[in-house]
């Protein structure tokens, strides 16, 4: 009988990755010279398990590498060696290497051998052995430092499909390159499909760029800093391609083999980069792909499910018995049984949904390392505080919110927090604080990213908005309205908020990703006191609590979280403006009235306002009254994508199937408010014409 080692291998890799997470977390807390015995024990144990497991599964490279780490840790544990900042950094780099090697073993691709060799050489040096013997000659001779200020560079750049979605733009990157010297770009159209087959937001092109001039390698690295982990990148001195072609075949990754023409040497050169942030990006990419495959569920949740299924089976057998010799005198028992069945089903649904819920710490965990690395790079002092890490969120939402969060935290560190000198000059402590907080509010999860930095520059944002024609100089705009301009496409945060130029992150993409999840983002900022970005997200994308409403013969669903109140229309409170839009006076506010039958082109019960009901909803930062014919039941509905099954329809976010088998459309509140505004403008302009 043969044993399927694959299943154990997957478990080993998963456990090893968790061990590495522990190692990383402890290392980030560790202070030079102050190593706590327990801390070192924790790291040692994780390294020891990885070494043992990898040897068992035949991953000799991981085992050999981890052995050196383990030996060093053992010396520290025995008090023979002191903990230095250099050692901590080296261990962190080792964590990255082991993680890459594990990911390579899991996904079956070749890893960055030079990067591993480089770190191993550092470990060997520390151990007192001769590092040169362990490092391939190429790695020693081709470090970035030794390649600075060449007469020109050949850059092979292949964005990963998702790169553009994360707000990065090749035009901007190449513009920066063009500013350095003579740039000759050559686009490779091989990956470009026909327009009809094209996923327009995905990157399909790749480039080979010759950059002539006396340019430091570091300058080019800086340009590509924000796309680290989002692309294949090769940077070689011009005329050095021959050397790369001579590299051993095993150094070339699988990805390069798929696209042999332009990027044959890409991964080799990419390995030369020793920048921590790049590794962070690479790791994030690899982790996110592996995270999709499985989910770890607490035993208590599984036990609760088993209990519920047990109860369901009992109810079902009770109903079965009842059905065998049913008579009318048993109708009460039948009703009780059905009520029980309903309760069981609802609880089962809630519990199954809770399996998909994961603490947001899964998304937060990457930030200590990221902030640590960015601090080193930007020469800033920042304390990262995190609270509410146990707040639970749907796994899908969590995976999709990761990148926007990275952008916001990066922005807070890069643009928000000032340098220690500026902070001291402003009378603040030299260490800035970035605070990540998560909590539940109603049916939503709120994530706050706040910093105590310089705050947003209201005047410069407004000036930029006026310059871009987004606002008029005589507009009396609130802070919130002005800060909202940051989310406009092409509104460069770098220009406006900080002096760090050229790498402004696309806040419009951040907002778009959040909106696509059914969420919203707000900004608050006070000059000198910092900014707070608040992300509001639904807890799950699969189910929503909905209010069923009727318009004519159609049933629609309005998300319950969007509804503020529902009321009978009093005609005296309705005002028509310029013969187009209608406003309803509700207490001290005026709400625009949206006649849903008009928006969706339906025949209503009555055209008179007073015959219908007004459902007051809030979306897109404003309130509106939706005119409906009738309010029906409230119920949880399972959301089906309209886009996947049909096509995107304005004002509709999805569909569901009701108990009677009919399809009901779910109203997109933000969309409907926007649609109605555009419609009103049109009506107004028609009237004017």
């Amino acid at each position: 009988m043969s044993i399927d080692m694959e299943q154990f291998k997957a478990t080993f890799i998963e456990e090893s990755l968790e061990g590495l997470d522990i190692m990383e977390a402890v290392l980030l807390e560790m202070q030079p010279g102050l190593a706590d015995a327990e801390e070192v024990d924790n790291i040692f144990r994780a390294a020891h398990s990885i070494k043992g497991g990898s040897a068992t599964f035949g991953f000799s490279d991981i085992s050999n590498f981890t052995h050196v780490v383990e030996t060093l840790l053992d010396q520290i544990r025995a008090g023979e060696r002191e903990v230095t900042q250099e050692a901590i950094n080296l261990f962190l780099s080792s964590v990255d290497c082991i993680r890459d090697m594990l990911a390579g073993a899991q996904e079956g691709f070749e890893i960055n051998l030079e990067q591993v060799a480089e770190v191993k050489a550092g470990l060997d040096r520390m151990l007192g052995s001769t590092p040169e013997a362990a490092v391939p000659a190429e790695a020693e001779t081709e470090t970035p430092d030794s390649m600075s200020a060449a007469s020109g560079w050949k850059i092979v750049f292949k964005p990963f499909p998702d790169m553009l979605r994360s707000g990065n733009d090749v035009v901007r990157l190449f513009r920066e390159l063009a500013d350095m010297g003579e740039m000759i770009p050559k686009a490779n159209l091989e990956g470009l499909p026909a327009l009809v087959d094209m996923e327009p937001e995905e990157a399909c092109l790749s480039w080979e760029v010759s950059l002539n001039g006396s340019i430091d390698r570091e300058q080019i690295d800086e340009v590509f800093e924000w796309v680290d982990g989002d692309c294949e990148l090769s940077i070689t001195p011009l005329g050095d391609e021959k050397a790369l072609e001579d590299m051993p075949a095993e150094s070339v990754t699988t990805e390069a083999e798929i696209n042999p023409t332009p990027v044959q040497a890409a991964p080799v050169a990419q390995e030369r980069r020793s920048d921590n942030d790049r590794r962070q990006g690479d790791r994030r990419k690899k982790r996110s792909s592996s995270e999709n495959s499985s989910i770890r569920v607490g035993i208590d949740k599984v036990d609760a499910l088993i209990n519920l299924v047990g109860e369901l089976v009992i109810t079902q057998s009770m109903l079965g018995q009842l059905g065998e010799d049913f008579s009318m005198d048993k109708v009460e028992r039948l009703k009780d049984g059905l009520a029980e069945l309903e309760r069981n089903t609802r609880e089962l649904q809630e519990n199954v949904m809770s399996i998909r819920m994961m603490p947001i710490s899964f998304a937060f965990n990457r930030f200590p390392r990221m902030v640590h690395d960015l601090c080193g790079k930007l020469e800033k002092k920042i304390e990262l505080k995190m609270s509410g890490e146990q707040t639970e969120l749907d796994k899908t939402v969590m995976e999709k919110i990761g990148d926007p969060l990275v952008h916001l935290v990066r922005n807070a560190v890069d643009h928000g927090i000032e340098t220690p000198e500026k902070r001291l000059a402003a009378g603040k402590s030299e260490t800035g604080t970035v605070h990540l907080n998560a909590y539940h509010q109603g049916g939503n999860i709120l994530i706050e990213i706040s910093d105590d930095g310089a705050g947003l520059n209201r005047e410069r944002i407004l000036a930029k908005a006026i310059e871009r024609g987004l606002a008029n100089s005589d507009d009396n705009l609130s802070d919130a309205e002005i800060f909202d301009f940051l989310f406009q496409p092409g509104f460069s945060t770098a220009d406006v908020v900080s002096d760090v130029s050229g790498r402004g992150v696309g806040m419009d993409v951040v907002k778009r990703n959040i909106t696509a999840l059914g969420g919203a983002i707000d900004v608050e900022s006070r000059p000198g006191n910092g900014s707070t970005f608040t992300i509001r997200l639904p807890l799950t994308l699969a189910i929503l609590d909905g209010q069923l409403i009727r318009v004519g013969e159609q049933t629609f669903i309005i998300p319950l979280v969007s509804i503020i109140e529902s009321l009978q229309v009093e005609p005296v409170r309705v005002n028509a403006i310029a013969g187009s839009a209608e406003l309803y006076k509700l207490r001290d506010d005026y709400l625009p009235v949206i006649r849903l039958y008009e928006t969706f082109g339906l025949k209503p019960d009555s055209l008179n306002l007073e015959d219908g009901l007004l459902v007051v909803v809030e979306g897109h930062g404003q309130q509106a009254g939706l005119l409906v014919d009738d309010l029906l039941a409230q119920q949880q509905v399972v959301i089906k994508s309209l886009e996947t099954n049909f096509k995107k329809v304005g004002g509709i976010s999805g569909a569901t199937i009701l108990g009677d088998g009919t399809v009901a459309l779910i109203v997109d509140i933000d969309g409907i408010i926007q649609l109605s505004q555009n419609g009103s403008y049109k009506r107004a302009s028609n009237a004017a014409a």
């Binding site: 035009v171 770009p185 470009l192 937001e201 092109l205 993409v509």
Partner: protein, 113 residues
């Protein structure tokens, strides 16, 4: 996300010239937020089989996603023998295409000269 407010591109057949053409007027912001909509307009233009006139005079920003879609459009049009011409193109549009090395494919380089 649905693009809000002003309509950034219009697509219509015109009889003012000797032959029927599809005209597409690009608005100032040509970026990833509007690329899906732009692609739909370009596909319609390809399906119509008429010569296409693009007006890029107002373009203040053209990003990679949009330029990529335009490249695919020009290639498809070429393979289907559909003539595509720019009636006008802004410097920004031309410069962005040059930066990506696709100005020749988009027939934008000659305009810059």
């Amino acid at each position: 996300m649905i693009h809000d407010g002003d309509k950034w591109v219009s697509d219509k057949a015109s009889n003012s010239e000797a032959e029927t053409v599809s005209s597409i007027i690009c608005d100032e912001m040509l970026d990833i937020s509007v690329v899906t909509e732009l692609r739909a307009h370009l596909l319609e233009a390809l399906a119509a089989k008429y010569p296409v006139r693009l007006d890029g005079s107002a373009v203040e920003r053209a990003d990679t996603a949009v330029l990529q879609v335009l490249t695919a459009f020009f290639q498809d049009a070429r393979s289907q023998d559909i003539s595509v011409q720019w009636t006008s193109a802004s410097d920004t549009l031309i410069r962005s295409a040059e930066l990506l090395g696709i100005a020749d494919i988009l027939v934008l380089k000659a305009k810059a000269a």
